[in-house]
């Protein structure tokens, strides 16, 4: 055994970071870990790309030809592409609750919770890690959309805005998933509930069709569905349709912040 072990400087003497730096440090750590995992698991990137590709290539091109969904001057495929980005980020993040339960069962969560990390910082780190994964997926969808002839913006500021919206949306749905995990506490139930809420969230949003086409009750749900605000912002930034960007960002930031707080309060219950 190395004698260098004796020379380790006591870690407890290291200064504790101030809260904002600490949160930033934990978020960057979790994002780095996620990138390390993505780098080694490229197969998952391809398998996860199958469903959004089908939505764009099969559903999108078919309904563009049929012209049954009125989207004004915007081709249906262009209208659909931001919705597919939002849907794929939803699909990725809604199952992070299962990962948290797996981490609990494997002892990883307990070990993370015994580090000097406030629970809110731990949840924020996980949420942004989901955002990183969603961002990689969004890149795949954007490249596919370009290949299909979608008029995607080349403005770097707008593309940066797209990245922020994707991360915020994924962060919210990741935390929602952790909240559900904190309530149901089992992987099997979590899997069922994840499947059960994913499609209603998708169909009760403006991802596939304009809000004006929805019946009144669906429009009401659409107005409280954060996915709709994500899609509206993505559509506005990516293809230039009218969007209430201030409201969209406010809703996404607010819902992400609330969901982080609720998920953090349930983390102890998951770890018990």
């Amino acid at each position: 055994m190395s004698s260098r072990l004796a020379a380790l400087r006591p870690g407890w003497a290291d200064p504790l970071l101030a809260t904002p730096r600490l949160v930033l440090s934990r978020v960057s750590t979790m994002c780095l870990v996620e990138l390390q995992k993505i780098r080694r698991d490229r197969t998952e990137l391809f398998t996860r790309a199958v469903q959004p590709s089908l939505w764009l290539v099969v559903f999108g091109t078919t309904f563009t030809k049929l012209q049954t969904i009125p989207t004004g001057d915007v081709p249906y495929l262009d209208f659909l592409a931001p919705g597919v980005i939002a849907q794929s980020s939803l699909m990725i993040s809604i199952f992070y609750g299962i990962q948290i339960i797996w981490d609990r069962d494997a002892g990883i969560l307990a070990k993370l919770m015994v580090t000097p990390t406030p629970r809110a910082a731990l949840v924020t780190g996980k949420a942004f890690a989901a955002g990183i994964r969603a961002l990689v997926q969004a890149l795949v969808v954007i490249v596919l959309a370009l290949l299909l002839g979608v008029a995607v913006t080349g403005n770097p500021l707008r593309l940066l805005g797209v990245a922020v919206v994707v991360v915020l949306g994924a962060a919210f749905f990741c935390c929602l998933s952790i909240v559900i995990a904190g309530l149901v506490l089992s992987r099997d139930r979590m899997m069922g509930i994840g499947q059960a809420i994913m499609m209603p969230l998708f169909f009760a949003s403006n991802a596939l069709y304009p809000v004006a086409l929805m019946p009144g009750w669906l429009q009401a749900i659409n107005h409280v569905n954060p996915l709709s605000y994500q899609v509206e912002a993505l559509r506005g930034l990516l293809i230039g349709t009218p969007a209430r960007l201030g409201l969209d960002f406010a809703v996404l930031v607010g819902s992400a912040a609330v969901s982080v707080a609720v998920a953090a309060s349930l983390l102890g219950r998951i770890a018990k």
Binding site: L5, R9, L16, L32, K37, D105, G107, A110, M113, P118
Partner: protein, 271 residues
């Protein structure tokens, strides 16, 4: 926080899961610099005690102090002092050994300029340098345990807490883990609190032990003192001490379906 403070002091610690009392109001002192064994069969309350000390569980009744810091009020400061290895094999199989250890170096705010060297040092100390850049899903059970020790040590904690560190390992790997723990203490003077239900291992490795049974501590002392307290010709073992103090056999107590699931999962991951 002074060097004279005990590493751990539990006073009247009580914890219940619903109507089931897991820890029934225990007093416990772990002295600074010793290897202290918390012994008892499954379901004795060892893990619940450990989880209260590590801040994983709240302390609804009683007081728990780590180096004189109240764990109920100073959670983050207490966690800063602790290196923790849980009962389950908890390395992330998708990451390499080095990445697993670096993750904990970052989470404990090991300064960036020291991080790589400190990670390399603890990996080397656990004999994992050659395997450091392999994904840990390729590691044997004994290697994962040593990696977890490296993760716990990278922050150079004052108190190393190990929950059943040799459970599910083969005899060679078990010996290897105890040798590493003894060496860490020898080189760093770190306090080590370890739970186990392997009496013969504790007898050889621990300075002092507490025998825990049905949520209560029945005896505390060095293994030699406890064995001597039985009298006789000195051929007794800690198993005999346990029987003498509890009037019970060394049998597992029911911990419920989830515990069985976790134990099986651990066994499965160990191969």
């Amino acid at each position: 926080m002074t060097t004279d403070d005990p590493a751990v002091r539990c006073t009247g610690l009580r914890y219940a899961f619903g109507d089931t009392v897991a820890v029934g109001g225990i007093d416990l002192v772990v002295r600074t610099g010793e290897i202290f064994g918390l012994l008892g069969p499954n379901g004795a309350g060892k893990t619940t005690t450990i989880r209260a000390i590590t801040t994983l569980l709240p302390v609804p009744r009683g007081i728990v102090r780590v180096f004189d810091l109240d764990v109920a009020r100073r959670k983050i400061a207490v966690r800063r002092l602790i290196g923790y290895v849980p009962q389950l094999l908890s390395a992330d199989g998708a990451l390499t050994g080095r990445e697993n250890v670096a993750l904990f170096a970052r989470l404990f705010d090991v300064p960036r300029r020291e991080r790589a060297a400190r990670v390399a040092d603890v990996i080397d100390a656990m004999g994992l340098t050659e395997a450091a850049d392999r994904q840990t899903k390729t590691y044997s059970g004994g290697m994962v345990r040593r990696l977890e020790l490296a993760q716990a040590l990278v922050s150079a904690p004052r108190l190393l807490i190990l929950d059943e560190p040799t459970i599910g390992l083969d005899p060679v790997a078990r010996t290897g883990v105890w040798e590493r723990i003894a060496e860490v203490r020898r080189q760093t003077g770190m306090t080590v609190l370890v739970t186990t239900h392997y009496m013969e291992e504790a007898e050889g490795a621990c300075d002092r032990v507490a025998l825990m049974h049905r949520g209560l501590i029945r005896a505390v002392g060095s293994p030699g003192e406890l064995i001597d307290s039985l009298g006789g010709d000195g051929a007794a073992t800690l198993d005999d001490v346990f029987r003498a103090y509890t009037g019970d056999e060394w049998t597992d107590q029911t911990k419920g379906f989830r515990h069985v699931q976790q134990t099986r999962r651990t066994a499965s991951r160990l191969g």
